[in-house]
Structures are given as C-alpha cells and as structure tokens.
C-alpha cells in the first residue's frame, strides 16, 4: 500500500487526480491533500507519505520551495505541472518524472510505477541543483541507463553523440555513458552550460574544443583529438559562439 499526498493550488485538479488514482492506480491511497505549500509541508510531516504529487507553480511558495523547506526527503515525488517553463529543466536534469495537465492516464500509471520502484537518488540531486541555483559548475546531470542512473558533473562532459534515440556521453576521464534519451532533450538542457549542438548528431562542450578546423571540411577538433563535424547551416552560428 502506497500512501500519497496531492499538493496543487487548484482544488479541481486535486479531485481529478484523486479520482484517476482511485480508478487506475489501486495500490495508491491518497491520505491527504493540500492547496498550498505550507499546508503541504504540514501534511507531509503529519502523514509521512511514500509518494507526493506536487504542483510546481503555486501562488506564494512553489513546489521547489516546499522541497527546500524540508530537512529530509524520504518520499518519492511525481511533479504535476500545467504549462511550466520554469521548473521543468531542473526536473529533467535529475531525470525525474513529471506529468502534464490534463493528466494522461497511461503516463500517470507509468510515473507511479517508476516512482515507487525508484532506486536512484534523483531527489537528492534535484535538491542539490535547486540549492546551488546559478552556480552551474557544481551542477550534476542525471544520465539514466537500463541498470543505473549516473550523476555526472556537467563540466566533465566533453561531448555527446547521438544514434537515433540513444545518446552517448563522452566524459573527460574517457568513460562513455549511453542513455536512451534523444539528443534533442540534452541539447536543450546543456545549452545553458556552454554546450553547442554543432551537428544534428553532436553536442560539444566549448571548454574542450581545441580548434576550429577549416581544412578538408569544417569541423571542431577536441582536445582529445576527435574531429566533430559541423553542419553546413550551423557554421556561422558555431563560429560566433566559439568567438572566432
């Protein structure tokens, strides 16, 4: 039996989610609901839930504020958001699940399953990122593979290479990590950290670029010696971004 709490500023959404869980996720029992962060903190302290459905954008304190206010997080979280550009990157960075409203039943089932069977410490990393704020060099990104979720420092990533829906991460120490997430997702996430998607299949960390090579085609030579192609229509943009 999984005890769950729903925290959402919209009472209708709370009721809707409660209904859906009753109908489709019978192993989940909603033990409490709250419509603001402060009530939510109180409910969590009182009920010690296994799972919390948490809206990110709420008036007053946000869902993240709620997390940061707790001394210890010993429950799983499923974020629920309407149209929220603000919180999603951090959540994605931690490879945590989130649901979009109106909630799709299949996605809801999947998220619940994933949350209750989660063995990784995604939550700690999300909290770490939230605490670190704009100190980006401290940020770590979650790379979920079949058997484990790795958390690596963004500054240690040399480059990413894609092969359809898989993305390979090449680390500074020579390690290669393969995840089953498309490169498009990482291009968005890493764009803020000085990474360039110089080619449809490649993302590079600007810090590891040795030179821009124009002889024999346009490409970037990395410090490790690899040659990374640059798309024809991205040449100018790459040149500008590299300050060349």
């Amino acid at each position: 039996m999984i005890n769950a709490i729903i925290i959402d500023d919209e009472q209708h959404n709370v009721i809707n989610l409660q209904r859906l869980l009753e109908q489709h996720c019978k192993e989940v029992t909603v033990v409490a609901t709250a419509t603001n962060a402060d009530d939510g903190i109180a409910m969590i302290r009182q009920h010690q839930p296994n799972l919390v459905f948490l809206d990110i954008q709420m008036p007053g304190k946000t869902g993240f504020d709620l997390l940061l206010a707790l001394p210890k997080i010993d429950f799983e979280i499923v974020f629920v958001t309407a149209f929220d550009q603000y919180g999603i990157p951090a959540v994605k960075f931690s490879a945590m699940d989130y649901l979009m409203k109106p909630v799709n039943v299949e996605e809801l089932k999947g998220a619940v399953q994933k949350a209750i069977s989660r063995k990784s410490n995604s939550m700690e990393h999300l909290v770490a990122i939230l605490k670190q704020g704009t100190q980006r060099h401290e940020h770590r990104i979650a790379l979920p593979s079949a058997k484990e979720t790795r958390f690596v420092y963004v500054k240690d990533i040399v480059r990413c290479e894609s092969s359809n829906s898989y993305t390979s991460f090449f680390m500074q120490d020579g390690e290669k990590i393969v995840v089953s997430v498309s490169i498009y997702e990482y291009a968005e996430m890493l764009g803020e950290y000085g990474f360039l998607r110089c080619h449809q299949s490649h993302i590079i960390n600007k810090l590891f670029v040795r030179s821009i090579v124009k002889e024999g085609g346009f490409y970037l030579q990395m410090k490790g010696g690899e040659k990374i192609p640059v798309s024809r229509d991205k040449k100018d943009w790459v040149k500008k971004e590299m300050g060349a």
Binding site: L20, F83, M100, K101, P102, V103, N104, V105, E107, S162, S163, N164, S165, S182, I183, Y184, H199, Q200, S201, G217, P229, S231, R232, D233
Partner: protein, 546 residues
C-alpha cells in the same frame, strides 16, 4: 670619313618671359666656331631655314651650302681669333661648333679667305681676312675684329658667303636671305605680381607704368623678330595678377591691339581693344588660360599665349581621387551597415512572423475537438474522453511551445500530427494509415513544427469528412535520397489546386514555407483529381548535414 659637328644652341628666348635684355647693338649673333677662329653674324633675328635645326656644314664636303633666313635689316659679318680676346665677357647667341679634333689648326685666321656675293651678282674677289679692316666689337669685347661685311638688306635680298684656305681648299659656304615678318603681335614679356595685399592701382603704379617704358625700349631689340605661336605654357601663382606686354607693331600706324582672354571665369569670346598690354587681374587656382592677341587692322593674324595656375593641393587630381575613394569607401561601409541592419531587422521580422504563424491551430478545429470530447463524456465514455483530452492537450501545448522553437524532432512532430488525426477520426470516423520510412532517424531529424498540420486538416475537411467510414487518409513520411517527403493522400472528390488559393490551410502553409525558404528549400506540390488528392511536402536536402 665622316666628320661630326656638334651644334650648341643657346637661345636668348629665355628673356621673353623675364626682363628684356637689351643688347646695345640690338643684334642677335650667330657664331661659327672654327677651332680658335670665330666667324660672327649679327642680325636682329637669324635662323636656319629648317627651323631650329641648323644646317651643319662639313669641311670635307665643302660643296654643300648652309641656308639661313634673317628678318633684321642690318647685317654685320666679322671674324675674330679667340686667343686675341683679353677676356670673354658676353658671347650670347647661337653657337655652331666644329669640335672634330682632326680639324684643329685647320682654320688659322691668317690663312682664311672670304668671298661675298649679293643677290647672285657675279662673284667678287677672294679676300684675305687679315687684310680686312679691323674694329672694336663691343658686343663680344673684341679689340680687333675683322670687318668682313656690313650691309642693309631689303626683303628678299640674299647673301652668299664663301670661305677657303689661302691654298685653295674650300671651307664653309653660307647662304642668307632676308624674309618679311608677319604682322602678328609679338609678346615681349610679362610682369607678375604675387603681392596679394597690394591693390590693382598700386600694381599699375609700381609695375606696369614703371616697367612699360622699358618694355617699349626693349621693343627695339625685338624689332624684326617674327612673332610665333607660343607653345610654352607658363605657370603663375594663384590669386596673383599678370600683365603681358607686346611689341609696338613694325609697319602698323594704328597702334591698337585687340585681345580675348579665355579660361577661369573668362568666357567671353569677343575681341576687346587695348593698348600694348593685357592685364589679368586675378588668377584662379586650377584654371587654364588662353590669351589671343591681334592687331586691329590684321584680324586674321593673331598670336596665342597659354598660361595656367596650378591647382591648390585640394584641387589636384590625386586629392580628388582620394576624396572620391574615401567617399566611396565610407558610402560602401554605410551601405553594408545599412544592409546588415536591414537584414537583421528582416530576420527579426521573419522570426516574429514564423512565431505568429506557428501557434495557429484552426479555432474551428479547437472547439470542435472540445465538442467531441464533451460528447464522449456525456456518452459516459470516460476513458476515451481522457485519452482524447490528453492528446488534445499535448497538441495544444506543442502548438504553443512552437512559438519559441524553429524546429522540433521529427518524432515529436509525428506525435503531434497523430494526435491531431486521432481527434479528427473521433469526429469523422475515417480510415487512417501512417507509414514512416524506418531509415529515418526520427529522434534526430528536426522539422518545423506543425507545418503539415493544415494540409492534413484539408485532407480531412475537403477530402474525407463527407465520406465517413469510407474515407481514407494515407500519411507517409518517406526518405528520397537526401530529401524528406511528407505525403498526404485522401480518397475524396478532389479539387482544382490552381483555384484553391483561398483555402486557409494551404495559404498558411505556403506562407510559412516562404519564410523557411530563406534558409532551406521546402516545396509544396498538390495533385488532385476526382478520385483523390495527394499533397507532397518536400524538405529538399534536409538530411544533408556535413
């Protein structure tokens, strides 16, 4: 053995533009320098018949005669041995030198004889030069010059003068004829005034009125000089003034000049009367002048004098060229800047426009889709209602997100379009088939969001909506070499693509393709007949990335 004769030609003409130099004897002297022996010819003006190229004579071929013309009346021929001169003070004129060493000591004066013939009269006797009378020649500061001939020549008179050694060896032969001079005004000189502070009347007082008499006196020296077209182009300083003086005409009683000045601010080509001078009061920098002068009673004969004022540094060609180049460079720079800014503005505009076009899901579709979901709810089909509602939400969300993204992964786009088609199927219950070429890496390839949506909407609305379950839409994403092809076929009754311009979907898609085509080629092709319509959206070379 051919002997060489050097001609040294020192002209007095320099004094034409400077102060007139007045020779006491008013003569112009030609010297024939035969080693130490000088034969001197004095006349007001003497010249080789072939202009300035004097006929040389050759001691080895004494049969040749050198021809000269003179314009002066008085002729004086004398001979002098240069060694007898105490010092050579002033010997100006034309010098004809025989400098061939083999002929040194060939012409001692004591062994020379002369014979002079006037107007072809029978030749006289050969005379020893040293037996001729001597005189003191002030022109060359000679104490003992031998007097060979002093005569007055009328126009067309000629003299034939032969020299030989007293042993009978023939030497040089000269033929001289007097010519009439033309009644062309003769420029004696000019006065140039660079003092810009002085006013014109002061200049007239200081220069013109004082120097003019001396010019008139100088006129005696140039009495019989023929006037020439002045080929020299004299330069004067800017803002200075200049006065030109002309010789009193020889045989003209009416001493009236006429002149016309052209160049600078002077444009009037008519002739103006003047006395013997022309004053140009203010010379303009960069101007080229031409002064024509004639006598009133001989209007056909005029002399021309060219002069100019060098341009100021900023009037020079290189400066103008430099300025021009600078202007062009600055202009080009401004143009490029302008073009760059314009391009940037247009780019901004283009982006804004693309963004504004992105979000446009047809409102008709939006509310009908909501209506369909409402229908499912009221029909108690709650699961189906949930399913379609989240599909609709996803479509709406991506439509809104597309305002910030130019491209999205093909797999996301396919999900969008599938969501859309599922909602339309809910409304119209048609058959639908989707095929995606397995070679396409849908997670990597990116396309503009929802570009094909209005085309599918057309296929539904105009193709299959009326046919219900018999309607069929086939949606294929194909790979054609480096192109991606979206093919949307329906089995509706077709339409005339050329008359379908007002259709919202096609127009919207065409507008967006226009905007995208600034970067890549996207083409839209519609084939329609009574059994159906196929719309082909081709992304040309879309897969070519390296």
């Amino acid at each position: 053995m051919r002997k060489t004769l050097y001609l040294l030609n020192i002209l007095l003409l320099l004094c034409l533009v400077a102060k007139p130099q007045i020779n006491q004897k008013n003569k112009f002297i030609t010297f024939f320098v035969l080693d130490k022996t000088y034969i001197t010819f004095s006349n007001n003006y003497m010249r080789g018949n072939d202009g300035h190229k004097y006929n040389p004579y050759f001691p080895s071929s004494p049969d040749e005669t050198s021809h000269y013309m003179v314009t002066g009346e008085e002729v004086l021929i004398s001979a002098v041995e240069i060694d007898t001169l105490a010092k050579v003070k002033s010997m100006s004129g034309n010098f004809h030198l025989d400098t061939v060493p083999a002929h040194r000591q060939f012409y001692p004066l004591r062994s020379l004889q002369v014979r002079i013939t006037k107007n072809g009269a029978p030749a006289g006797k050969w005379l020893d030069i040293i037996k001729m009378p001597t005189f003191k020649d002030t022109a060359i500061v000679s104490e003992t010059s031998y007097w060979l001939l002093k005569d007055s020549l009328k126009v067309n008179d000629s003299l034939f003068i032969e020299f030989r050694r007293n042993d009978g060896v023939a030497l040089m032969k000269l033929h001289i004829r007097r010519k009439a001079i033309e009644k062309r005004p003769f420029l004696m000189g000019s006065a140039h005034d660079t003092s810009t502070s002085r006013d014109e009347s002061a200049f007239m007082q200081a220069q013109l009125l004082k120097t003019y008499p001396s010019f008139k006196q100088g006129a005696a020296f140039y009495t019989d000089w023929p006037a020439r077209i002045d080929k020299l182009d004299h330069a004067y300083m800017p803002n200075s003034r200049v006065a030109f003086y002309f010789r009193e005409p020889p045989d003209v009683t009416d001493f009236t000049f006429q002149y016309r000045l052209l160049g600078g601010r002077y444009k009037d080509t008519s002739w103006k009367n003047t006395r013997g001078y022309v004053l140009v009061p203010s010379l303009q920098a960069g101007a080229k002048y031409r002064l024509d002068v004639r006598y009133k009673d001989a209007p056909a004969l005029w002399s021309t004098h060219l002069f100019h004022v060098p341009p100021y540094w900023y009037q020079t060609l290189w400066f103008k060229t430099g300025i021009g180049a600078c202007v062009i460079i600055v202009g080009l720079f401004l143009f490029l800047l302008w073009a760059y800014l314009k391009n940037k503005r247009q780019e901004e505009k283009r982006k804004l426009k693309i963004q504004s076009l992105y979000a446009q899901l047809n409102p008709h579709f939006v509310f009908n889709a909501l209506g369909s979901i409402q229908g499912l709810m009221n029909d108690q089909q709650l699961n189906k209602a949930n399913q379609y509602l989240s599909g609709f939400a996803q479509l709406l969300r991506n439509s809104m997100l597309s305002t910030t993204k130019e491209t999205i992964p093909l797999q996301t786009e396919l999900k969008n379009l599938d969501n859309y088609i599922q909602l339309e199927i809910l409304r119209f219950n048609f058959q639908y088939e989707l095929y995606v070429d397995p070679e396409l890496q849908t997670a990597i390839i990116e396309v503009p969001p929802l570009l094909a949506q209005p085309l599918i909407e057309n296929a539904v609305k105009h193709g299959v909506s009326a046919k219900g379950a018999a309607g069929q839409i086939k949606f294929q994403i194909l790979k054609d070499k480096q192109d991606i092809l979206f093919s949307i076929s329906d089995n509706g009754s077709g339409f005339d693509p050329s008359k379908a311009v007002d259709r919202h979907g096609i127009k919207l898609t065409k507008d967006r393709i226009e905007l995208y085509n600034k970067h890549r080629r996207i083409t839209l092709d519609i084939q329609s007949n009574t059994t159906g319509t196929t719309v082909l959206l081709r992304y040309k070379n879309w897969l070519e990335h390296d």
